[in-house]
Amino acid sequence: MKGAEALLRALEREGVEVIFGHPGGAIMPTYDALYDSPIRHILVRHEQGGVHAATAYARASGKVGVVMATSGPGALNLVTGLADAMMDSTPVVAITGNVPRALIGTDAFQEADVTGVTMPITKHNYLVQDVNEIPRVVKEAFHIASTGRPGPVLIDIPKDVQLEEFTGSFDVPLDLPGYKPTLKGHPKQIEKALDALEKAERPVLMVGGGAQHAHAELLAFAEKTGLPVITTLMGLGAFPGNHPLWLGMPGMHGTVAANRAIHHADVILAIGLRFDDRVTGKVSRFAPHAHTIIHVDIDPAEIGKVVRTHIPIVGDSRLVLKELLKGAKALRLAAWWRQLEEWRTRYPLRYKPKPHLQSQEVIRAFHEATGGHAIVTTGVGQHQMFAAQFFPVTRPRSFLTSGGLGTMGVGLPFAIGAKIARPEELVLDFDGDGSFQMTLQELATVVKYGLDVKVVILNNGYLGMVRQWQDLFHAKRYSEVYLADSNPDFARLAEAYGIKGVKVERKEDLRKGVEAVLNTDGPVVAEFKVYQEEGVFPMIPAGGAAEDMIIEHPAEREEVEA
């Protein structure tokens, strides 16, 4: 058996069912072995599409996503996706070929120092120097990627190692003396947390992507205590978006209720989130009335990194919530809830209706038509925020977006990965005209595998989010954000791929358009030509605080003191 075959055996032993990838010279021995392997391979048209698809596969399924690429240019095309998976703590294993060992360091054809380049954007990486190390490296890579705080791990295998005769064993013990994640929260800390919550007058529960797998425990704990729940962009779906205890999303484009709740809270229980600056705004002005912040995270380095933490709990959110639940009591929060309810009813997410078709109403129409029952993916920009605001998902692992890195172009590859992970689900990609064009080559992948994904392009003819900042903070100097003069006809583009194209330009055609998308058996690319000058609100400007929240466009400004 050659190294390449040993690699595939090792992957099979990890339960890998699907690999997203793109071949090339330095990985050819492995592609040759793949020819006889039961593992399914999804051929993407760009390695970036592959790593994003693997990321979404992982997030939608809870399993490890696997991507494969050749040396040099192939591997370097993974960089953005690895950084994205790292930022959003997603278990991905990337396998890259490299030039033969003897050529490493000689600037050989298609050589790049891939382990060097990816060091800061992977949880760990390996350069395999010995064919018999393959089983150990694969085992460690999957373990590291999927346990503790999940993240991407890259395995770089020189071509001659793939070709060398394997004489080792697959039964290797896992020996990682420097890697022992703490899973169980400290009982004393959990007790302290419960105590603080019991004494709290205005407590809030904030959850992030680290609680997606803890949704059942989270729901039980929230219902038992009656705590108001706020979910970050990565936490959407970890708690049902139609639940009376849910206040929405916090931060830059969060709800008034969520941001005010945090602003006025005396005790904050934060679970599986890392206080990104898009959530906190200016840290020194974040949650100024909170005398106690309880932070539950599996990564000790996140605790105390951004905000002062009074009760740190290192552990797996699910196990910690289980323990919290054991001691949880119904809290008396009637007065607090009266206040929250007032903010919630006074400031619902809304938009000023315009004569044009608007992004928000498109998303809302899809939400109504599907009952919210879909896996949503997005690009990055205004449409992403509108999707977060107007398509409140109710189930975990169903809102797949690029949170930490804000990577334009993830929408379509995420949809592909999600559809492969959960083929029975409706997969809706709410995409931007700008974002979509960053990875649209993956329409070919959609066709190749007959993937029933619905791409909904909210075509505002602009890099809308950048335009919004120029509008608000750069004196309307719209520098290099106009796309409409050169955008393709998206419906015809889809048709060139053999995919059904839909185009909706007028408000009155909205229902019909939505139906055309949802009633099509198979993939659709639908272009909704939306109002070009829309802004996402509410908005807390970068570096601001809840008190600086702008509820509507300054032209109709109604600033709100928190």
Partner: protein, 170 residues
């Protein structure tokens, strides 16, 4: 505040790279770094001199612990021994200067390890402040070269840097 941190690592390729890359990326202030093998095969020990406030130092420790090949991290806030070795090549023009430099050498208990017509190499071991003052004392005579190893440290008493309990990591 200046801290000396000892790190026990698996001596895999690039492990040093991972540590320096971490410091660069996170903007931690690394004043010196010394690395060497230990009595245990496969394990290396690194001494880092880092400056920063308590919060930064907490992050330094935690971020180091996130590295898979890092087995143990200790910030030496307890009584510890700290040493640095320096080689200083100093210009000595005539007999008078030679004698003056010899006085400094004796006062600091440094050693002469090379003698040439117009220069001497002095070797000094001590904590970093002692090395600093040594260099300052020699400066008027014309220092030609300095090489310092960076501080290495070890806890006093029976405390030992080893992989005892399982470290917290992610």
């Amino acid at each position: 505040m200046r801290h000396v941190i000892s790190v026990l690592v698996q001596d895999h390729p690039r492990v040093l790279n991972r540590i320096t890359s971490l410091f660069a990326r996170r903007g931690f202030n690394l004043e010196s770094l010394a690395v060497g093998t230990t009595h245990q095969p496969g394990l290396s020990r690194i001494s880092l001199v880092v400056s920063g406030d308590d919060r930064t130092l907490e992050q330094v420790e935690k971020q180091l612990n996130r590295l898979i090949e890092v087995l143990k991290v200790t910030d030496h806030t307890e009584p510890h021994v700290e040493r640095e070795l320096a080689l200083v090549k100093v210009h000595v023009a005539g007999v008078e200067e030679r004698l003056a430099v010899k006085d400094i050498q004796e006062a600091f208990r440094a050693r002469v390890v090379d003698v040439a017509q117009k220069s001497l190499i002095l070797e000094l071991t001590g904590d970093s402040r002692k090395v600093d003052s040594f260099i300052e004392a020699l400066r008027p005579y014309g220092i030609l070269e300095v090489m310092r190893t960076g501080a290495v440290a070890m806890s006093r008493g029976d405390r030992v840097l080893k992989v005892r309990e399982k470290k917290e990591a992610v």
